[in-house]
Assembly symmetry: none
Homo-oligomer: 230 residues x 2
Amino acid sequence: MEKKYKILLVDDEPDIIEFIRYNLIKEGFEVYHAENGIKAIEIAKQIEPHLIILDVMMPGMDGIETCSSIRQISNLKKTVITFLTARGEDYSQIAGFEAGADDYITKPIKPKVLISRINALLKRFTIETEEPVYEMNGKNSRIIINREKYLVTKNGQDLILPRKEFELLALLVSKPEKVFTREEIYQLVWGSDIIVGDRTIDVHIRKLREKIGEDHIVTIKGVGYKFMNE
Amino acid sequence: MEKKYKILLVDDEPDIIEFIRYNLIKEGFEVYHAENGIKAIEIAKQIEPHLIILDVMMPGMDGIETCSSIRQISNLKKTVITFLTARGEDYSQIAGFEAGADDYITKPIKPKVLISRINALLKRFTIETEEPVYEMNGKNSRIIINREKYLVTKNGQDLILPRKEFELLALLVSKPEKVFTREEIYQLVWGSDIIVGDRTIDVHIRKLREKIGEDHIVTIKGVGYKFMNE
DNA sequence: CCCGGGGTTTACCAAATTGTTAAGCGTACT
DNA sequence: AGTACGCTTAACAATTTGGTAAACCCCGGG
């Protein structure tokens, strides 16, 4: 389930912006930028980014102030904010965390460190949204999907499914009875970027039916698939 | 950041379930339920609830039996179990504590009492969780990880593992069955700033398997690794 | 009855992941 | 210095998974 994260970059030095921007885009992030705090807040309200990278030292409204302001905005409560700071500006760390920052990145920036740090942050703050366990009770069958253990239990028997099959099943089960169109399935399991052929879903559906039984996944011709438990 | 506690409710009377369920959900708990002992055990294995509320009187497997069975399951050793019993069924108290119950709640149930009782129980549970020693008992093996002594004991035999191997093993064992992605492992064992190559984890995994046996660490392709004890 | 639009299956191949082994490097200990 | 050990990486092998093409089906409409 691939999602494209939006990142807002705030710094007054064009060089830095360009450098970070380049590296983030290469990693597939959607990158926006602003050269000062005021603009940053404006853009943030608009796009509701997942992550904001904020330079501490900026003319006018500095990073700390900007951070505090952003934290006031209710739509952005969930947004992760990280500061960008030169090594040695220790004093700002304390003020930064008080202002509601989630992490610090120190200059000079190494691309690899930057990326892995960002991935870690996004993961840490996203993970909390996913339901770890789904449970389905039918007349004569019980199916449990455990994301954490990556395990599907059918009537007490454990099954280990390959990634795509698991994601597909998890998706269908997440809303029993709901019909997912092929489009939706592609979006949610494969992600908006990846393009695969027409028959790919069918094949995975088939493998699933093979493993969990024919009766659970129902085809609605011309529309899509849905999961049922009866 | 509040953690959502998982509670499993076991009773054969739908009315009771509904009543308690309603009150618990209102308090922000994550509530699961089962109508008999067998199903309760199955669900408990899957979701690893923090608390199980067990009716004593049930058709088939009664509460006492169910409790005993649950106490056998190593992943559920930490789970708090409380019985639900009609006032006056004194005899069952004794049997109940012997079977490993932690507390009793008597019918008729008053919501406020119920909630405060449960909060107290969970509080106690949370405090006891921080242990420097993990112990895992499987069918034909027993593994103990002692952080303080930096020692791993397998079937009574002490092993001294190098730092990375130890940390890796300790991580996996800390949540048996949970699949840790490579990302997570890098984050938690190496830290988000250190960048190491793709094959590094594999090599450590291999060394671990060499030392503690092949069957414990399971690969979930495309996802990560998990520790099992069977 | 035949045809065409999906949907199903199967077989097969390419791509992605993981497993293994061995070698290089650095550090601690002797 | 010499040796041992732990951590990484490199290189290559072994596996698994994912995707596609193509043959097959099923069903409703000419």
